[in-house]
Subunit: 222 residues, 2 copies
């Protein structure tokens, strides 16, 4: 039994309200009254749980980062990758790519985060630093480590960084550009069939790293 279920619920509800309202209206335009009302909480609860409006905003960013880490199982993948051999690296890469596809294409909650995250992309503030340090950076490092291993390049090689970015873009766009894709496919939502096809397409692109010799511009052995 939890010690303060009502309190934790209020905190959770405030964060959810924050993600929604900060994303839709921006930080300044969002009022503490609006946040409290949307959360079904008392105005004073913001000060109690987060000190002030800014604290709630940063907590919302931390929540998003934490959820991403959990859903993508980033910590486990990062921990196992460095010591893995080549086949294990490829398997880890495919598994992580698959988790990303499932998370971004299937999970409805992710869509709630989009506007807040995009605001921080367009005008990065302190919340961006949190997202970068606690989520984006881990995705870059984990995927980058695996791709570096597979292409026999250094982990800081710019080619590795750009390939990592490209891979993330492929997958994330199933979240960001979902509506135009659904229109083109003439469907209302992703079903299991299409999700499997998406995975197959991503997997085909991962094959670019499977055969390092196929790369026409290999890194020179320093």
């Amino acid at each position: 039994m939890v010690s303060r279920p009502a309190s934790l619920n209020t905190r959770e509800r405030l964060i959810q309200a924050g993600i929604r309202l900060f994303g839709e209206q921006g930080f300044e335009a969002t009022t503490t009254r609006g946040l409290a009302e949307a959360a079904g909480a008392n105005i004073g609860s913001i000060a109690y749980h987060f000190a002030n409006k800014r604290g709630l905003y940063l907590a919302a960013a931390r929540y998003i980062a934490e959820q991403l880490r959990t859903r993508l199982a980033l910590d486990e993948t990062a921990a196992q990758a460095p010591v893995a051999d080549r086949d294990a690296a490829l398997a880890a890469l495919r598994a992580l790519a698959r988790r990303m596809v499932r998370t971004f294409a299937e999970d409805e909650e992710c869509r709630q985060w989009l506007l807040l995250v995009m605001r921080e992309q367009v005008r990065p503030g302190e919340a961006f630093e949190i997202l970068q340090a606690e989520a984006f950076g881990l995705v870059q490092a984990t995927l980058g480590g695996l791709i570096a291993r597979l292409t026999d390049r250094a982990i800081d090689d710019r080619r590795v960084i750009l390939e990592t970015h490209t891979l993330v873009g492929q997958i994330v766009f199933f979240l960001i550009g979902r509506e135009p894709l659904l229109r083109r496919l003439e469907i209302e939502a992703f079903d299991e069939t299409i999700l499997a096809e998406i995975e197959a397409v991503i997997d085909a692109h991962l094959r670019l790293y499977a055969a390092p010799n196929a790369d026409p511009t290999p890194t020179r052995p320093t």
Copy 2:
């Protein structure tokens, strides 16, 4: 010499203000007074040029779509592609991909459009229909036609649609996910060197379509 330079300027400035304010605050929260002030115009000019606030919003969406079509030279590419042979299709695909990279990575104005476009992605309204019909759909159709040609598939093949989406995601993410990438690269902005490297990475992925037999799951000849 233009016949009504002053008028065009007011109209233009209102659209620019609309893209910014509607994106930042959303349609409802944005006031006509705020729009007029941001544009350095008077309130009545909104009614004169766009009938009402909603008209300005839709005009902003149309402006974005038109700018995209122009920058990507979509109309020309779409017109030439269907009759092209295989090599010409590949060349057209590479050229269009290159234009997209340059537009999204280099052009600062594109960043202004992001929030408005993302709002329409998250909650599609009439403006989304405009963007889809006058820009996104053309990108899908043009790229899809070229990829279909290169992979010997039908233009409505779901694999073609998904590959097209994946390609767009790769490139667009250099606009959307620019900040995390700049952090990782430890640079402040894209320079010519990195742009060339980005193009090379995208080009390597295009090579997946260059050899149709390399595709492990070919379409069955219906």
